[in-house]
């Protein structure tokens, strides 16, 4: 264990973290590893030992005796002297007295507070949806357990997924592997239209249709009715889809109410500086619920990703123990659907040119440019493109676009100009 080099005296200090997912847990462990000597308490309303969320829609859902993949072993918390307060909801942040209040009544004082509250699934106010019980979200282990139970109790295994985003599509692939009949209903003309290019959207549409998913786009869900044992999902054009249960994957709501109530600056995310400090210097915020200025993309961004949660956690912990400001980070993401691995580096928003590199069957990458600058690479079953893209974006290098598209030229430094 390393000591604190900046001379920050932490022995008598209390660090409190609200939220025990990727961001909160990684922060707690990093803080201890970086030499924090005071107490570390992590509070979360979820009663489970903190677990990986990305596998929920994939491996966890697909495995019958599903168990979550823990982020850290239970004993690791004790070994690092991190106190977990699970199944506890935080009611209030009292900045003046530097304490948080739990719903159960307990009060925990802090010297440094970290808000890592993330997001919750957004459930749209579709008439009939909320009033009947057979709908689920995909955010927690409890969600997956409930979904598996509903699936095992239904003889037809008719599943309707509202929303053709990553969560919806990954879940569709998993349901298919469990023998379900899956319909995905998407409001937009194309799936993932807000986050990816028509090329990638088209590839994923074709993939899911070929795997037997009914993909219904340009469909607005206007109501849900009960008919016998079935839920009927009704669309604006009058079409109806029968379901034994419904999965809702239409986006998230940020869990920023505590921060708003505490008077912190929140603008579609808790605003933080380069070391994840909020408008209160003793309160930090990390992960999905935050908005930070990306020096790589020269704009304020909010990211929903494991990478951002972990990197912000590490950055905040380093700052609190050593006074160090973290280096700029290029975002990255992944998704696994069927036998396809999608790896994304960078952010494609604002691209004005794209180059597709088609490797062998089922292996390709999409390179997004703004002028000559590479913004993002999305690679399908082609990690080489992802890796080279990462190196280019990190160093802000320029590449020869024609050679990127030409698969007779190997992906190497020779593509650089």
């Amino acid at each position: 264990m390393q000591g604190t080099e900046s001379g920050v005296e932490t022995l008598s200090m209390n660090a409190v973290v609200i939220g025990a997912s990727h961001a909160g847990v990684n922060f707690a462990f990093n803080l201890r590893q970086q030499g924090w000597q005071g107490t570390i308490t992590v509070v979360d309303s979820d009663p489970e030992l903190p677990y990986h969320r990305p596998p929920l829609s994939k491996k966890t859902l697909q495995t019958t005796e599903c168990v979550p993949t823990p982020l850290k072993a239970e004993k690791a918390y004790a070994d690092s002297n991190i106190q977990l307060r699970l199944g506890q909801t935080v009611d209030d942040i009292d900045r003046e007295n530097k304490q948080i209040k739990l719903a159960a009544g307990d009060i925990i004082g802090f010297d440094k507070l970290v808000i890592a509250t993330g997001c919750s699934p957004f459930i749209p106010p579709i008439p009939g949806l909320l009033s009947q019980s057979k709908y689920f979200a995909m955010r927690t282990y409890a969600d997956v357990k409930a979904i598996q139970s509903a699936l095992s109790q239904s003889s037809d295994k008719d599943v309707v997924i509202i929303g053709g985003g990553y969560i919806g599509l990954e879940s569709a692939a998993s349901f298919k592997s469990l023998g379900a009949n899956v319909t995905v209903i998407e409001k937009q003309e194309k799936i993932l239209s807000r986050v990816t290019s028509p090329v990638m959207s088209e590839f994923l549409s074709t993939l899911h249709i070929n795997k037997g998913i009914s993909l219904e786009t340009t469909k607005d869900v206007v109501g849900v009715k009960q008919r016998g044992n079935k839920q009927v999902v009704v669309c604006g054009d009058g079409t109806e889809y029968l379901a034994d249960f419904i999965l809702v994957g239409v986006g998230v709501r940020l869990n920023t109410q505590l921060a708003i109530n505490a008077g912190l600056i929140v603008e579609e995310g808790i605003k933080v500086n380069g070391v994840c400090q909020t408008s209160d210097p003793d309160i930090f915020a990390i992960g999905d619920c935050t908005k930070h200025f990306s020096t790589v993309y020269d704009r304020w961004i909010r990211l929903e990703s494991v990478q951002n949660a972990v990197d912000q956690a590490k950055g905040a912990a380093q700052y609190l123990t050593k006074g160090v400001t973290p280096a700029p980070v290029v975002p990255w993401f992944w998704s696994d659907q069927y036998e396809y691995k999608l790896q994304i580096v960078g952010l494609s928003q604002g691209y004005d040119d794209l180059v597709v590199r088609n490797e062998d069957e089922g292996q390709f990458s999409v390179w997004y440019f703004q002028g000559e600058r590479l913004l993002c690479v999305e690679a399908v079953n082609h990690t080489k493109s992802y890796v080279l893209g990462t190196q280019i974006i990190k160093k802000d290098l320029r590449v020869n676009k024609q050679l990127i598209a030409d698969t007779s030229t190997p992906l190497s430094k020779e593509l650089l100009v």
Binding site: N26, P70, K72, A73, V306, W334
Partner: protein, 102 residues
């Protein structure tokens, strides 16, 4: 059942044992410092990087294409590097020593 040793960057030796899952999961379960497994074990993050001895590397085998490409992201990669989320825990690795690449 496999009993293996991880040597961390701080030169600490951690002996762990297991009989299923991946070597990354075993390391995380035992709190081996430097093995993070941020992606949960799907070869997407390269945060479970280890170095093997040449002899053990020959026994365990070379990485598959995706894994070997991911290793290029890490400056510490050597010809005996592996991402341990891709190594199953089995009798095959019993007695081996792995160095956390950090």
């Amino acid at each position: 059942m496999a009993k293996v040793i991880f040597i961390t960057q701080a030169n600490e030796s951690v002996e762990v044992e297991g009989d299923s899952g991946s070597l990354m999961e075993l390391a995380v379960q035992n709190g081996v410092y430097g093995i993070d497994g941020d992606c949960g074990g799907v070869c997407s993050c390269a945060t479970c990087h280890i170095h093997l001895s040449p002899e053990d590397f020959d026994k365990v085998g070379a990485p598959a294409e995706t894994e070997s490409d991911m290793l290029e992201l890490d400056d510490n990669a050597t010809e005996y590097s592996r991402l341990c989320c891709q190594i199953p825990v089995s009798d095959e690795i019993d007695g081996m020593t792995f160095t956390v690449a950090g």
